[in-house]
Amino acid sequence: MASIASPAIDNTIDIPGRRTPLVLGNQTYASVTHMVARISEEAQPAIWWIAFAIAFPLMLMFGGLIGYLILTGVGVWGNMSPVFWGWPIVNFVFWVGIGHAGTLISAILFLFRQNWRTSINRAAEAMTIFAVICAGTFPGIHVGRAWLAFWLTPYPSLNLWMWPQFRSPLLWDVFAVGTYASVSLIFWYMGMIPDLASFRDRSKNKWRRMVYGLLCLGWSGSSRHWMRYEKAYVILSALATPLVLSVHTVVSFDFAVSQLPGWHTTIFPPYFVAGAIFSGFAMVLTLLIPVRAIYNLKDLITPRHLDNMCKIILATGSMVGLAYTTEFFMAWYSQNPYEFFTFWNRAFGPYWWAYWIMFSCNVITPQLFWFRVFRTNTVIMWVVTIFVNIGMWFERFVICCTSLSRDFLPSSWGYFSPTWVDIGMLVGSFGLFTTLFLLFCRFLPIIAISEIKWTISQHAHSEHRYKHGHEHH
């Protein structure tokens, strides 16, 4: 793409008195449209096909394992007394946590006027939807008789003659995750409508034009439409902000409302939410670092975006570390022998390895991001995000399995061992997630085109005012 030769700007450094550009390379409105739309118009690069060839069979394997589970029974998992919440719930909480970054970026950063969100919000929202799909699968099949999972909904049943129990955190979870999934989906879709119209208007092919025309609902770009659209976006952001905080809070209630040492604690809601944002941002970076390299989007997803995300990972990772140490403090301060034993057992009991994987990945590795050199090196950044992903999975494993495996009665202690189905389902859920993300890259606008154009316009205005102001002095 021909662009006017521009000096290499390092936009991770703030220029006093001037607005730091969020888009590099002297982009125009047309060049932004082209840069994003070409991804779905041109043939996909070889690496896309390689990734798809790996992810798609894994997704099929996931489906096959679910079929095997349904036909055989939950005994194919390693869930065994006393650890009845094994990997399926670990995976559920892991994926739901990852699904927090998208709506956080779209909603909370929008309300805080963080304009750098515009380059990453679309992909992050898509990631949210796909992560929630993976997450929702696990409790759905964990109910045992998965074909009766619809009993969770309050519907007038001819067979049961009874209603769900609204005092149970598990039912709150159904509503929280269900609301979050559907609201995130509609928020994501609404955000895509103007960009789908861009895709429609660039289409050379009649069928492509028709499909994108249907998807964008006939968007014309009328100012009246934009006005209501913007209003709806603000309202949705205001609604989604408490929603995103409520979801992992309710997920943490699944644990915190029980009586089990290690679960029964008031620190869980903020601790879970911080962990969710932490893991979600890590996953966004894990996905976007390759995406910006493969699709050559380095001018739109700039070092400044990555730098900002690293800072959020550092902040939330430290919050998670604070939560870990607070738990230990409370275990000692409460003088409750069961509570104290649980935490001692987590760190030095049979699952010590899981605890220290969790601690080192989540608390120690993000500390690298105190240094600018690590926040600007994409390779190191990517490796750190992988560690964070691993660490956050282990956090859920530690919470779920260590507390259950050793509770009040030493006679009923046990040790959880996963089966090959457990491992296959975790790997398969990554296959499902990756397949959906690859299809998203292939068919949908992966960057919010219209919002980027708005930031370009804003930047032009601020530069204009800056120059104008100088002339007056």
Binding site: R167, G178, P194, D201, L217, S220, A232, L243
Partner: protein, 487 residues
């Protein structure tokens, strides 16, 4: 859709929809919009690739009522959630969970919050689309290829022909004077707005096809059928196990009910082959039918097969499981015979004269020695249990003159059988196993004490009875000499 235009329609030029001007920049658009608005036009709109800030005042767009929709939906969601939770958990299906009240309002908050957000969010999006008139797949602007760039890098300003000051030439010149890249007339889209018939047919056909499964289900629900129900997944009450008294091809004998697996011990029959619990040695008892059966039982329970018959398998192994119960040694006839031969009121020597077999007591290989160590502890236990269970009838001394017997004699009822005098010669001569058997199974009016006394306690009682007999029939020579004591 224009392919489906009817040929008979006269090619009349479409009605004018207004004029649109094209700009390359949002600043130019804003300047032009202000100018147009200042000229008095009200039917104006702008079309932009992104939400241009300031355009609302520039063309005079009124604020939207959208937030009110959200607010109403939020209240509706909250009300629906709280009503639903209260009605379902406190009215229609009340039950106590964790000691909480039926209407646990704090516990209802999470779902109420989620439904508030759910209702508001969906209403916001759909109200936005509805107020915008979307989806709308045709527009007068879409017929102009230039307009495609409105979602790319061009900004359009439109003055509608329905404006009360609308004059085609004046509007054109006004727009041209704003520095537009191009100024073009917009004509109404005259392509037919009807949905093409093939699409309508396809939609109707699709709806009909989706109705078929529901129709089948409805028909099945109302029709009667002899066929069993189709179960994709079995419910828990629906199990593939066979009913009793039916046959199966799974086993050689075709029977659904299976014999106990070899080595099975029935409840309460633990040690059924052990002389310690029987009082006799079943392996040496082969002289009677019942004894043969007992031997078979021993063989079956130890080896899983009938002795000498290894080929028949499962079917044959049924046989011994039935026979032992028939040959229960305390069979009713025997007891009856004993009662008849006993002479009421007379000294209880009736059965002493009759042979043991005739009295219904089988001729077993009785144990003649205590199978337990006879020590002071055992005798003390035996005394305790004897006085607890036996002395009421047999008397503390064993003469058959316990309190019950004395009272019965006072009442002088004819049917009372005098309890046995344990010092009768016949009883004294009985081997210990025989006495044990009597305690275990009862005799005559005396019931079984198997439920009250463990085998160990029974043997203790036997030892005590033997000691009692010996004490009541002692000879001077039984008295130990000083030398014996010294030893």
């Amino acid at each position: 859709m224009s392919d489906h235009a009817k040929p008979k329609k006269t090619p009349k030029p479409p009605k004018a929809h207004g004029w649109m001007a094209e700009y390359a920049d949002d600043n130019q658009l804003l300047d032009a919009a202000r100018k147009v608005k200042d000229s008095g036009y009200t039917r104006i709109d702008a079309f932009t690739p992104f939400a241009v800030h300031g355009i609302d005042e520039a063309i005079g767009i009124k604020p939207t009522a959208l937030p009110w929709f959200t607010l109403c939906a939020g209240f509706a969601g909250l009300t629906v959630a709280l009503t639903m939770e209260y009605w379902m958990n406190a009215v229609d299906y009340p039950y106590i969970i964790s000691g909480k009240p039926y209407a646990s309002w704090p516990a209802f908050i999470p779902v109420a919050f989620e439904l508030t957000v759910l209702f508001s969010a969906f209403t916001t999006v759909f109200a936005m689309l509805g107020l915008n008139g979307l989806p709308r797949f045709s527009s007068p602007f879409f017929s102009n290829p230039k307009f495609d760039r409105t979602t790319d890098d061009r900004f359009f300003l439109w003055i509608g022909s329905s404006d009360k000051y609308f004059n085609s030439e004046k509007v054109q010149s006004l727009l041209t004077s704003t520095g537009a890249l191009s100024v073009e007339e917009v004509r109404e889209d005259d392509s037919p707005s009807d949905i093409p018939k093939p699409i309508i047919f396809a939609i109707i056909a699709g709806i009909l096809v989706t109705l078929i499964p529901g129709a089948i289900v409805l028909n099945m629900r109302n029709a009667k059928s002899g066929e069993s129900r189709l179960h994709v997944f079995f419910d828990m009450d629906f199990q593939p196990s066979r009913h009793t008294q039916t046959s199966t091809a799974m086993f050689a004998d075709g029977r659904v009910q299976r014999p106990p697996v070899p080595g099975t011990v029935a409840r309460g029959e633990l040690g059924a082959t052990d002389p310690y619990t029987l009082g006799y040695d079943p392996s040496q008892t082969v002289s009677t039918d019942s004894a043969t059966a007992a031997a078979k039982l021993v063989s079956f329970q130890q080896d899983g097969e009938v002795a000498g018959d290894e080929s028949k398998g499962a079917e044959a192994s049924e046989t011994p499981a039935v026979e032992p119960s028939e040959t229960e040694p305390t069979d009713a006839e025997g007891v009856a015979a004993e009662e008849v031969t006993a002479d009421p009121g007379a000294q209880p020597a009736a059965d002493e004269a009759a042979p043991a077999a005739a009295a219904g007591v089988p001729n077993y290989a009785w144990l003649t020695e205590l199978p337990v160590e006879a020590n002071g502890e055992l005798f003390e236990l035996g005394r305790h249990k004897f006085e607890q269970h036996c002395a009421l009838c047999h008397g503390y001394g064993g003469y058959g003159n316990g309190l019950v017997a004395q009272r019965a004699a006072e009442l002088a009822q004819g049917y009372w059988l005098q309890p046995a005098n344990l010092h009768d010669q016949a009883i004294e001569e009985q081997p210990v196993g025989r006495i044990y058997y009597t305690i275990t199974h009862g005799k005559g009016k005396m019931g079984s004490y198997a439920a009250s006394l463990t085998p160990e306690e029974r043997w203790a009682v036997v030892a005590y009875v033997k000691a009692l007999q010996r004490s009541q029939n002692a000879q001077p020579s039984d008295i130990p000499t000083r030398g014996d004591i010294a030893q």
